[in-house]
């Protein structure tokens, strides 16, 4: 078990080890839902919630049931079931309390189920042997990092509306390019902390 404090892990998960910009997980909904800042914020909030929640639940299940009973080879299938149920819950919650956001997110809300960043966060938690508090920090940080990246890209996409992008680069191409530039910018944080 690493000795790094949960705060450091949280900060690192947002900046130096941003799950989207350094691990490139969760790209599909990131590319699809980064046109409007409001939608990006909504999806980002949903991902933060799901990622923190599932990391905590999966920590309990993994260390409370799977490891003691020596059945940790079930981790993928159990993690995925937990994530699916959690997303289902979030979907009901958003439909009830924010129908416009529900319709704006459309199919991408249920698709959080298979957002690889979510499963990725749970698996990193296992691989890096985090304690409970560290896992909470990591889950929250990874979610915040993902949300930060999508909101920043949505902001850039807005600017892009008024920019003269050469036509072969319009659409997804320029989004990929600015994502790459953003990832390089985030590499600037690299020396601060490191959680490997």
């Amino acid at each position: 078990m690493s000795e790094t404090s949960a705060w450091v892990i949280l900060i690192a998960a947002i900046f130096t080890n941003n799950i989207l910009l350094s691990n490139f997980l969760g790209m599909c909904s990131f590319l699809a839902c980064s046109k409007q800042i409001a939608t990006a914020l909504g999806l980002g909030a949903a991902v933060i919630f799901v990622m923190t929640g599932t990391t905590i639940l999966n920590y309990w299940i993994y260390h409370g049931l799977l490891v003691p009973l020596k059945i940790d080879h079930l981790q993928f299938i159990v993690f995925i079931a937990v994530i699916a149920a959690f997303v289902q819950f979030v979907e009901m919650f958003i439909e009830r309390f924010s129908p416009p956001l529900y319709y704006a997110l459309g199919i991408f809300l249920p698709l959080i189920t298979v957002n690889c960043a979510i499963l990725g966060a749970s698996l990193f938690m296992v691989i890096r042997k985090y304690s409970f508090v560290q896992s909470v920090g990591f889950g929250l940080g990874a979610g915040l990092g993902w949300a930060l990246a999508i909101v920043l890209i949505a902001g850039l996409q807005r600017k892009m509306l008024y920019s003269n992008v050469p036509w072969p680069f319009r659409g997804v191409a320029i989004t990929m390019i600015i994502t790459g530039l953003m990832a390089m910018a985030f590499m600037g944080f690299a020396g601060m902390v490191n959680i490997q």
């Binding site: 299940i61 079930l74 299938i77 149920a85 439909e95 416009p100």
Partner: protein, 363 residues
């Protein structure tokens, strides 16, 4: 042992999650019974919350027109929501103008009933009923147009205004769909509804309606529509139609001559070629009985080598322009393809008709 534990834990986790979700569903998705107040207390419905407004109203026998059945592709199911509908959704923006949105206009298929609501719908819609009928006859009028006569079963009579339409249910691979067709039979024949249907290649309802035979059961809702005939017998009535746009005109004309035998009325009907002509003989017989009824059919395509035609040629708006004198008190009903309607509107406005005296249906 490890296998047993594996199965027990996995099943246990799934069962736990299912229970949590079921509880959440009860708390979040169950809205209980909600009240829907229509037209300030005229009708108050108690409906199960959670469904769309369109489905709730339909199940309570308030039939809002909808051609697409809730797929947000027709925009027919507009209602005014005064309270309790939440904010307008991005899906509705394509059909609801800014001005309408400010007045609370929503698409009933997109609004979910989550709380008590107050809505406003046109008075006419409260009289809309669902009818069952059987096909009495299916007549081929031209190569692509059929006349279907339906005898009403339950309710046995329909009360409609000339020019209104019904929505006929047709089966499709994705469940029943409803399509709008004007009533072609006159209002004094309340036991039957005639439809004039042009077949559209690949069209769900028109293909189905072209295949029905005598005795087949049919279901439709109605009547709908804003066409409102001026009751003043001094007002001349102008009917302009093309293709299946004949249907409402037939209803209007026969209904007029049943009530006002001397009222002045013009029928302009645009066809491409002589094979597209139908009902002409019937109208000529009617014109022989009622001297103030004038019927003009015009062919827009050049005549073929073996076609015979002694009537008008050219687009129908040119005939309208030629026959009508300006400055007469008139009301007009137009039904046909959009370019035809636009051209005729221009001509009629130049003849001095006000916009509110022109009713049209573009399709």
């Amino acid at each position: 042992m490890v296998y047993v534990w594996a199965i027990v834990v996995f099943v246990g986790v799934l069962a736990g999650l299912s229970i949590l979700l079921t509880v959440a569903e009860r708390l979040l998705v169950d809205y209980g019974v909600c009240q829907v107040d229509i037209n300030a207390g005229e009708k108050v419905l108690e409906v199960e919350g959670g469904q769309t407004l369109l489905n709730s109203l339909n199940s309570e026998k308030v039939f809002i027109p909808s051609a697409c059945g809730g797929k947000v592709s027709c925009g027919f199911c507009k209602v005014t929501v005064l309270s309790g509908g939440g904010a307008i959704l991005p899906t509705e923006r394509a059909f609801v103008t800014r001005k309408e949105a400010r007045a609370g206009v929503r698409l009933a298929c997109q609004v979910k009933v989550r709380e008590d609501m107050q809505i406003r719908i046109p008075e006419d819609l409260l009289n809309v009923k669902m009818f069952s009928a059987t096909v009495k006859s299916a007549l081929t009028l031209t190569h692509d147009i059929k006349e279907i006569r339906m005898a009403l079963v339950e309710p046995a009579e329909i009360s409609h205004r000339p020019g209104q339409y019904v929505q006929v249910q047709a089966p499709s691979s994705e469940g029943p769909v409803f399509r709008a067709y004007s009533v072609a039979s006159p209002v004094y024949e309340p036991n039957v509804v005639d439809l004039v249907i042009r077949i559209i290649p690949g069209g769900i309802a028109s293909t189905y309606l072209h295949s029905v035979a005598e005795g087949d059961p049919m279901i439709f809702t109605g009547p709908y529509g804003e066409f409102r005939l001026n009751e003043d017998p001094e007002t001349e009535v102008i009917c302009v139609g093309g293709g299946a746009g004949m249907a409402p005109m037939r209803n209007i004309i026969y209904s007029i001559y049943d009530r006002w035998p001397d009222r002045s009325c013009w029928l302009f009907f645009g066809c491409r070629t002589t094979v597209d002509i139908f009902y002409l003989k019937e109208y000529q017989e009617l014109a022989a009985k009622h001297p103030n009824f004038h019927v003009v059919y015009a062919l827009s395509d050049p005549l073929g080598p073996d076609e015979k035609w002694d009537g008008e040629t050219g687009f129908i708006h040119l005939s309208v322009d030629k026959h009508l004198d300006p400055g007469v008190k008139r009301q007009a009903f137009l039904c046909g393809p959009p370019p035809m309607i636009d051209a005729v509107m221009g001509v009629l406005e130049a003849k001095g008709l006000r916009e509110r005296d022109i009713f049209y249906d573009k399709f």
